[in-house]
Amino acid sequence: MADMAATPIGAVPAVPKTPRSAAERQEARVGLLLSLPAILLVFVFIILPVAAVITLGFTNFELGYASFEFVGFENYVELLGDRTFMQSLWNTGIYAVIVTPISIFMALGLAMLIEAEGIGRSFFRTAYFLPVASLLVAMATVWQYLFHPTIGPINTMLAMIGIAGPNWLGAANTVLYSLSIIGIWQSVGFNLVLFLAGLTAIPRELYAAAEVDGAKTAWDRFRLVTWPMLGPTTLFVTTISVISSVKVFETVKTLTEGGPNKASEVLLYTIYQEGFVYLRVGYASAMTVVFLAILVVLMFLQYRIQDKQVHYV
C-alpha cells in the first residue's frame, strides 16, 4: 500500500450515506441544550407576557374589577377615534425624528474630536457618559430648574445677551423640543462610547492611503474613510437610538405629565396613563400592541434599507 493509494479522480465508490451524521446531531443537541435556559426565559418573560398583552387587548379588563369580557376589536376601533392616542403618536414621531439623528451625529462628532485628542480622553468619555448613568427621578428636578422660564440659568444667561428665553417646558410649542434636549443629553454618551469603539477599529492605513491619494482636508478624509467605515456601528447605534427614543417615558412622566394640553403626550406615557391611572388595562393593552407593531415594522424597514449598504463583504 504505497504510492498508488490515491484513488482515481471521479471514481466514487458506493458507500451508504448516513443521513446527518451522529456527530452533527450531537452538536445540534448540545447547542440546543446550551441555549435552552435562554430560550425558556425568553419564553417566560417576553413571549408569554406579550401574548398576555395581546389577549388583554381584546378584553375590557379594568384594574380593580375582578372580571372582564372579551370585546373583540372594540378597543382597536376606539383607538382609531382616540385623539389623545393620535396626538401621542404624532408627538412620539416628532420626538424620535429630533432625538435620533441629533444624538447620533453629535455623538459621532464628539467621538471624532475625542479620538483625535490625545489628552483627557477618559475624562471626556466619563463626562459625556455620565448622563447615561443618571437617575431621572432626581435629574428631573434639575432640568426643571435649568429650564425655568424666569429664574432658570438657561434663560438667565439668554437674558444677559438680550434674548428673551422661551418657556421651555411650559409652552405647548416648545415643550417637545425641551424634552428632546433632555433626550439628547441622555443618549449622546451611550452613542459616543459606541462610536469611539468603532473609530478605534478603523485601520490607520486607510487614513494614510487617503492622504497619499490626495485627501487634503479632514472633511475629505471623513467622507472617504471614517463615515463609510463606521457603517455597521452607525447601523447599530441607529437601531438602539430609534428604539430608545420611541420608548421615551420617564422625562414626560416626571416633568410634564403629557402637558400642557397633550403637547407632550407620548406613546408610552399614554399607555401608562390609560393602564395605570385610568386603570383601563384592556384598552392600554391594545395600545401596547399597536406600539409594538410599529416598532417591529420600523426595525424591519431600517434593517432592510441599511444593512445592505453597510456590510462590505
Binding site: A28, V42, V50, V53, L56, T141, I202, R204
Partner: protein, 282 residues
Amino acid sequence: MSQNAFTPSMSLGRVVRLSILGLGALVFLMPYIFMISTAGKAQSDIFTSSLNLIPTHWFYGENFAKAWSRVHMPTLLFNGILVCLMILVIQVVIAIPCAYAMAKMKFRAAKAMMVLIMLGLLVPIHATALPLYVAFDRAGALNSYFSLVAPFSISVFGIFLFLQFFRAMPNDLIHAARLDGMSEIGVIARVIVPNAWPAITAFSIFSVVAHWNDLFWPLVVVSNQAYATPPLGLLYFRAAEAGDDYGALMAATLIITSPLVVAFLLAQKRFVEGITMTGLKG
C-alpha cells in the same frame, strides 16, 4: 483621524478642538454641577433669582446627614448592589452559553433564536409589566429579591453583544480546546469566559447602570421597604404637592450615583475595548 505630520503640538485646530470638547463637557455636566451645588445648600438658598453655584451657607453636612438618616441608606445600597449583582450574574450565566452556541455551533433553532432576540430588544418592560405582575402575585413572589431579579434574568441585549464578540473569536481556539479534551461547558468556562472579559465588562456597565437606576419595576413589585432599591429610597425626598426637599434629594442622588461613576471610571478602558471587539466596529 490621522495626526497630520506637520502640526505643531498646540496648533489652532487643537485649541478649537479642546474648547469644543471642554464646552460640551461643561454643558453635559451642567445638571451635575447644579446637583453638587444644590446638595450643599440650605433649602431656602436653592431657588433664588441669582445664579450662584457656591452655597452661601455650607449645608453639605446637614443634607448628607438628612439623606443618610431619612432613609435607611445601607439597606438601599445593599439591596441595590445585591439586585444588580444577581441580575448581572444570572444574565451573564444565561447569555454566554446561548451566545456561544449561536456563534459557534450548528443547530437549527439558532435562526429562530435570532428573531426572538431582535423581538426581545423591542419589548419594553412597561409593556409587559402587568401580566408579569399578575404572574408574580399568583406565584406569591412579590416583595422578594426574586421578583426584582427574575424578569431581567434574560438579557437579549447581552446575548446580542456576546454573540458579536464570540463570532470574532477564532474557531481554532475552540477546536484546540475540544481536542484537548474539554466538554462544551469546559470550553465556555475555561476558554470563552477568560477571554471575554472586555465584553463582559462592557455588558456589565450597561446592565448595572440600567438596573441600578430602574424605578419602574421595583415600584411595581416591591411594597415592603426591606427590598427597596436606591431609586425607591429617593421617593422619600419627593413631595408632589409643593417642592421637594431639594438639598437632601440631591445629596441622596449623589450618594446613589457615585458607585456607578466609580465603577465606570474603573471599567471604562475595558469597556471600550469590549465594544471594539464585538463586531459593532467598522
